[in-house]
């Protein structure tokens, strides 16, 4: 273990230093992310409420539609969920086989074609309610949001050749699109203006990579996503965002939640 910790110290060495003005500006910008976060989780909650209704009505098609809507709100919010609410994140999005959470419900609705997921849906609703209750008071740090943006940008580049995380419902591509939308919004709401003032070229590079990601995930289906390009662009975006962290006076972003 000593070797491991030494190794991590080597891996995680990073520049530290942030001017007071930059920090205040980014703090303000981070606060502007809050409504988006509330909206995303709000959409997930609305979707789960609809899901509960459709399940009660034994309406499989409607339940599936509600699940997809709830899922969209969740995936847009992944910029902050893993870093700011890791325990709830693990419960809501547990995988591959879980007792509760989106994927437990997905397997029954889309896999078995049944609607008997009352208890799982209740549990999901409870977890989302808990999360929603924290959103208004949660301290949003620019560092935490940059960490989340970078982690998600890396994750988007992972291969979905096996059907991806939401393979049972066939909605992995929707997950990716919502992830990219979340990255796009978080970056442009919080960091783009400050970075543009410091390093226009780097800001333009990040803009270009985000646009490229949007183009790639706009493919009509998962099979037609240019996987090698997706991976390359996602990594280039992460590298650029790592560069941006230094310019913005932030620490180098973490690549895993809770690794800081």
């Amino acid at each position: 273990m000593n070797h491991s910790w030494t190794a991590v110290c080597v891996l995680l060495l990073m520049p530290i230093g942030m001017s007071a003005t930059q920090a205040a500006s980014l703090d303000d910008a981070a606060e502007r992310y809050r409504p988006y976060m509330i909206e995303g989780i709000g959409q997930a909650m609305t979707g789960v409420r609809n899901l509960r209704d459709r399940i009660a009505a034994r309406d499989l098609a409607g339940a599936r539609k509600a699940w997809i809507s709830a899922r969209a709100g969740w995936e847009r919010s992944e910029v902050f969920t893993a870093g700011f609410v890791p325990e709830l994140d693990a419960q809501i999005d547990a995988w591959p086989h879980a007792d509760s959470g989106f994927h437990a419900i997905e397997a029954v609705l889309f896999g078995a074609g049944r609607t008997d997921v009352e208890s799982e849906t209740e549990a999901l609703a409870d977890h989302l309610n808990s999360l929603y209750g924290k959103l208004h008071e949660m301290a949003l740090t620019p560092q935490g949001l940059l960490d989340g943006t970078v982690r998600l940008a890396y994750e988007v580049g992972e291969s979905k050749a096996d059907g991806g995380e939401s393979r049972i419902s066939g909605t992995s591509l929707d997950d990716m699109r919502n992830n990219v939308a979340g990255i796009d919004f978080a970056y442009h709401t919080i960091f783009a203006a400050s970075l543009g003032a410091i390093d226009e070229k780097l800001a333009a590079r990040i803009d270009q990579r985000i646009e490229l990601l949007k183009t790639i995930v706009a493919a009509p289906d998962l099979r037609r996503v240019d996987v090698p390009a997706l991976r390359r662009v996602s990594e280039e975006l992460v590298v650029a965002l790592q560069g941006a962290s230094t310019k913005l006076g932030l620490q180098s972003p973490t690549l895993e939640a809770s690794s800081r």
Partner: protein, 458 residues
């Protein structure tokens, strides 16, 4: 080794390749939007992988060309669109230069271990509109095994590799250096050693009576045609081949396959129709009216098993094995970066990065319900591997921009981390990784449970 061989001779009818290979069933690719046909099994999740021995390692180390060839062989990027999308490379079928007895692709395979190279999936232009899969062969000892192809249609390995890339898998025209390097790599893959074989392909050492009788039977002329014998085509020698094509009653002319390491090359025959030596011997007995007694059959199988044996045919696929391969691949960058070779650097970064991303998935993240404990260690392992992926990407970007000095500095850092820090972090997380059989089985059992929910409904 000897005890196992004797047991095999006695139990030849139960001799299935699966008995040797891995411990858990291969996990199928599935879902509504997979690039490959649903229920495709690539056996990428096997815990034990074929061992690969290189000729040049005995002579001091692998050359740049051999490492580049191994890298290209493992890269989907040299193949066409479907293969690239699916992450399929030459190494998907020829795992560590051996075969892949568990590979199965619906509509392209008729049984595990074979594949239709003229099917519609990878290159519609190559489609011959017939489901005629051929066995996925081992490439061990390929330099002794010309001509190439199951029917021996090509005398040049160079031409054969070109045909596979461009025609069978719709890849772009490979550069001469890539093609030469793949050939160099394949020609460097040795047979696994078999201490029971002496000069001239004769059994040596502690040989059983049954094996000796089998050896004599192997060389005995066929009763109905004394010009023929098993050994007349499988000439006892370094490779047990005659470099010729023959009709042995399996539907055409096919080249003589090697018997070296053949215990681990099932299924047998050009289309992989037979699982066992027992079935193979039965076929020849019937087709050539050999009149074999039950004892003769057992003796022949004992002999084949002795000839086809090998020292340590499989090795555990732990982080150490993965890192060794990745380090071999990375040596290519040591030459390509100073040369400013953008194409090779990109190929290497994409391929090594892909391997590192796959290695990352061996350390489940916190959302994975099938593993508990070691959370911090898993986080460290994943962080370290992701960091390497990004370092490689920085190298690629720097070389593309002509900043070779920056790339060299990053590569120095990469090698420094790979020398000690990363192996230490991965070792610390191994107990909670998919390299641990208990965690591996739990993870795939969970995935299987999810997949089965889908099958139940259909």
């Amino acid at each position: 080794m000897m005890i196992r061989r004797l047991c095999l001779a006695a139990l030849a009818s139960a001799f299935l390749v699966a008995a040797f290979h891995g411990r858990a069933a291969a996990f199928p690719i599935d879902g509504d939007q997979t690039t490959l046909p649903p229920k495709t099994e690539l056996d990428e999740d096997a815990l034990d992988k074929p061992r690969e021995v290189f000729h040049s390692e005995a002579a001091g180390g692998k050359s740049y060309m051999i490492n580049l060839g191994n890298l290209a062989f493992s890269s989907p990027g040299i193949l066409g669109g479907v293969a690239r999308q699916a992450g399929v490379s030459c190494g998907t079928c020829h795992v560590n230069g051996a075969g892949n007895a568990r590979f199965f692709m619906p509509k392209m395979s008729t049984r595990p271990g074979n594949f239709d190279t003229t099917g519609p999936l990878f290159n519609p232009k190559a489609d011959n509109f017939a489901l005629d899969p051929v066995r996925i062969p081992s490439l061990r000892g390929a330099r002794y095994l010309a001509p190439y192809g199951h029917d021996g249609r090509m005398s040049s390995l160079h031409d054969f590799v070109h045909n596979v890339i461009v025609n069978e898998f719709a890849g772009p025209e490979p550069s001469p250096v890539i093609l030469d390097s793949i050939v160099a790599y394949i020609q460097d893959i040795d047979f696994l050693p078999n201490p029971s074989l002496g000069p001239g392909g004769r059994l040596t050492g502690n040989t059983s009576e049954s094996e000796r009788r089998g050896e004599a039977l192997f060389m005995r002329p066929f009763p109905r045609d004394p010009t023929l014998s098993c050994g007349g085509c499988h000439i006892p020698s370094g490779a047990f081949v005659d470099h010729q094509q023959h009709d042995v009653g399996s539907g055409g002319l096919f080249k003589t396959p090697t018997l070296r390491n053949a215990d681990f090359n099932a299924p047998y025959f050009h289309d992989g129709r037979f699982d066992t030596y027992d079935q193979v011997v039965t076929h020849f007995d019937r087709e050539f009216d050999l009149g074999l007694s039950e004892q003769d059959r057992r003796d022949l199988m004992a002999y084949l098993t002795a000839v086809g044996d090998a020292v340590q045919p499989y090795e555990h696929d732990g982080a150490g094995a993965s890192l060794k391969e990745i380090n071999d691949f990375a040596t290519v960058l040591g030459t390509a970066i100073p040369a400013g070779d953008k194409d090779i650097v990109s190929l290497a970064v994409d391929t090594i990065g892909n391997e590192l991303r796959e290695l990352t998935e061996q350390y489940p993240d916190r959302k994975n319900t099938s593993v508990s404990g070691g959370e911090q260690q898993r986080v460290l392992a994943r962080t370290a591997l992701k960091g390497l992926v990004l370092t490689l990407r920085r190298i690629d970007m720097a070389v593309a921009d002509g900043r070779t000095a920056d790339a060299a500095a990053d590569f120095k850092n990469y090698r420094y981390l790979m020398a000690a820090a990363v192996p230490a972090v991965l070792a610390g997380a191994e107990s909670w990784s998919l390299f641990n059989p208990a965690v591996h089985d739990s993870h795939y059992a969970s995935l299987r449970q999810v997949m089965q929910s889908k099958r139940v409904s259909r």
